[in-house]
Amino acid sequence: MANILKIEHLFKNYGSVEILKDINVEIEQGDFLVLVGPSGCGKSTLLNCIAGLEPITGGSLHIGGQDMTAVSPKDRDIAMVFQSYALYPTMTVAKNITFGMKVRGVDQATQDKKLAHVAQQLQIENLLKRKPGQLSGGQRQRVAMGRALVRDPKLFLFDEPLSNLDAKLRVEMRTEIKQLHQRLGASMVYVTHDQIEAMTLATKIVVMKGGVIQQIGTPAEIYNRPANLFVADFMGSPAMNLIPAKARANGSGTDIQIAQDRGDPIVLTDTKNRDLPEDVILGVRPEDIGDAAMRSGAHMQEAECLIDIVEPAGADTYAVMQLGGKHVTARLHSETNAAPGNAQRLAFDLGKVSYFAPDTGLRLN
Amino acid sequence: MTKWLEENTPKLVLAPSFIAILVFVYGFIAWTAWVSMTRSRLLPKYEIEGFIQYDRLFASPRWDTAFGNLFIFGTLFIVIAMILGLVLAILLDQNIRTEGAIRTIYLYPMALSMIVTGTAWKWILNPGLGLQAMVRGWGFEDFTFDWLVDPDMAIYTIVLAAIWQSSGFVMALFLAGLRSVDEEIIKAAQVDGIPTWRVYTAIIIPSMAPIFLSAFIVLSHLAIKSFDLVIALTGGGPGYATDLPATYMYAMAFSRGDIGQAASSAMIMMLVVFAIVVPYLYSELRSKDG
């Protein structure tokens, strides 16, 4: 499969400040790549570099197999949707969409045809004569997408397009974008700080922090096998529990010992992972800690845990306890009998856990 | 080649204006500074002779009057215009029904040339035919208002006319400032039972500090530039009583043919402006920088 986007050893500096360090990413035709990370991690800058709106300090960038490192945005065969939509305020919706074609000298007939096609696709036919100031947030978003679609580019770039919408609209538009992706089979690079958007939309996720890529992988990989503490904590909601523990090898595997602030330390035996250092951080998602009575599985390990708080949340009940000096959340069934102040027998699914070295934060297993 | 052109178009577009400013502002200031250090009379000479022109300047009684007038005029003008502007702004802020019309009336003098202003006030202050004559005609035989021809009082006519011209602008500035104060803070104060005048003195006026500064800067600038007004109103007289640095400079440059003096007086004006404006610009640019 052809690489639609290939970034190799990309560096970007503003003066003496390094914004992006040694970025290497590849995607194939039809991929939906999401760049996700906290504010200031460089994801928008990377997107602007891909678009050609920012020059690259080092490295190379290929789009559709061609070296675009020094090419200006208009010749990169890309289209971009901005967070603020950036619709031309004094032009009608129709003119907004056809502006790019007009600049390129496309003939009127083709312009009209493409406009009609895109308008129908996005259901904005009745908005064509209006100006951006007369549209709602969701409508503006669609027009911005229309402007991108009409270019039929190799690569679609989205810079946090849903951040300005209210929660309900955001979910609706998210689904629309996903449908668009599936229908068109287009290649998309999408920037967001919302990890839920990343998980739901992406075929491939790049997690970034401080200008450095933390991990590249599919949503499942990122979710189940985070490469370091940052990714483990950032992705997934509610967040993964990161519990300091002590590991000691025994005959059949490793004993993981976790202190409790009131009560005896709990010991879980992991038969899958060996050769762990003495100090580890155990990463386990809330859904992988359950009532022992209601869970069973190959790698389940049970322990008595003292519950601090119980939070009923409809379909589930969250129980919070203190393990290894940290607040740990378990997702229990709504019919659980867990009560604050009582010890509860819980099952930990050690087949799904991650281990991290406390000093480097890197994944051990 | 076209790529280079494309990339550098913004710079190329800005360049002519920038070069023009470099030459015609900074280059010229440098030239004037240079000449102010020479023995130039009718024609410029370029051998530096030190500060003799400045010595001559500070020894000249006419300059003494002019420079002193600058401070008298400047201080009175700025202080009274600010107070008047503030008072008017506060008055207008009280939900006046005809606010638009009144604002127009207070502000229109700013639209006039200072020559027009000077001409009008010269007529009004004319002792024989203006205000003084009129009030005397009403029966007040001893009423005197002959500031215009009195060497000691003439400078205050300039103050009067300048205030008439510019206080409307100060009012407009302050009115905008008064209204930009957060509504919620005022409501909170009202709920607390604080009387109106106290709301003004304790809350609104202090929060307008940057606007006071802006008004001060603009008024200082107007004061230092006051040339047109003096020429029209008093011609610098009686004698040299209402001379200001600006009129002194002009006289030296074009009537007396003493370019060295003209240059040095201009440089002094420059320095006064510099001392006031540079700190302001510095703080402005630091806050507006994107």
Partner: protein, 299 residues
């Protein structure tokens, strides 16, 4: 708007009459000030409509007993500005010839400069802008002498083009400031989207920024027109007998030492000189105020 009238009510019973008395004194005060501001205009007008006899025998603020437009006729086409006695008409026309190109050119240049500084940041752009901005604040006395020489060297000393040149150069700082402040508030994403669409520097300006710019163009034009039309310093320094703007002519008429002082003519001439900017102010005063406060009020 600070609505403080709500708190004016005091708990005592006489609040209503107290409030009314306050309102009346407020309006009275405002009216007195209005009279202060209107007095000169009124006096100019009435004086210009009186005969010289009436001026001598009447008083300052009395209405003309017999309205006569002779002074106006003289002011327009017969008053003496030195040796010539052609009235202000030719000089009025000079001012027009200076103002219109001066305003147009400095506004256009200011727009392009503001566009560059606001949207096409490059290293040093801010320093350049600061230097240009500072140029607004200099007292022009400091450039009079060298400019006189340079105009002579360029061969445009004492000419209308020479004055246009001077006004454009020294207007650049303000016009650039106005446009830059305006364009800075337009999101950078707009330029980016246009770049992705394939538009270049001039295309983006023409198709996107210019259509947005009407408010600031109006403000700049009004400001520049007022500055240039009302200017005296450059006019009196860089013009000759035939090329003087109306402000210089007015001053010559008023301060001419020859002949009888014709106060009514002086007043008429002053009003004629003031009409264009006054007219602009009355018609577009809102924008005028916006222009005055554009650079001054923060935020």
């Amino acid at each position: 708007m600070a609505d403080l009238s709500v708190s004016a009510a005091s708990p005592t019973g006489q609040s209503q009459t107290g409030k009314i008395a306050l309102r009346w004194s407020l309006y009275t005060l405002l009216c007195l000030f209005a009279l202060f501001y209107l007095l000169p205009l009124f006096v100019m007008l009435t004086t210009s409509l009186k005969s010289l006899d009436e001026i001598r025998t009447g008083d300052l603020i009395s209405l003309p007993r017999e309205v006569t437009f002779d002074a106006w006729r003289t002011a327009w086409s017969g008053a003496c500005t030195g040796i010539q006695c052609e009235g202000v008409r030719p000089y009025f026309w000079n001012s027009v010839l200076i103002a219109i190109p001066g305003v147009a050119i400095s506004t256009l240049l200011g727009a392009m400069n503001g566009y560059v500084v606001a949207q096409w940041r490059f290293r040093g752009a801010n320093i350049i802008f600061s230097l240009m901005l500072f140029g607004c604040f200099i007292p022009f006395q400091v450039v009079l002498l060298p400019m006189a020489r340079v105009l002579g060297m360029m061969g445009i000393a004492g000419t209308i083009p020479g004055l246009i040149f001077v006004h454009v150069i020294y207007g650049l700082g303000f016009t650039t400031l106005f446009f830059r402040n305006y364009y800075v508030s337009i999101p950078a994403d707009l330029t980016k989207a246009a770049k992705v669409d394939g538009a270049g520097f001039f295309r983006i300006f023409w198709s996107i920024f210019l259509p947005l710019s009407l408010p600031i163009i109006v403000v700049t034009v009004i400001w520049q027109f007022t500055q240039i039309w009302n200017d005296f310093l450059f006019g009196v320094s860089f013009s000759q007998a035939g090329t003087q703007p109306v402000t210089v002519a007015l001053n010559n008429i008023v301060n001419s030492t020859t002949g009888v002082k014709e106060y009514n003519v002086d007043m008429a001439a002053a009003i004629i000189a003031a009409l264009p900017t006054l007219f602009v102010y009355v018609v577009a005063g809102k924008y005028f105020v916006r222009g005055l406060t554009a650079g001054s009020v923060k935020g």
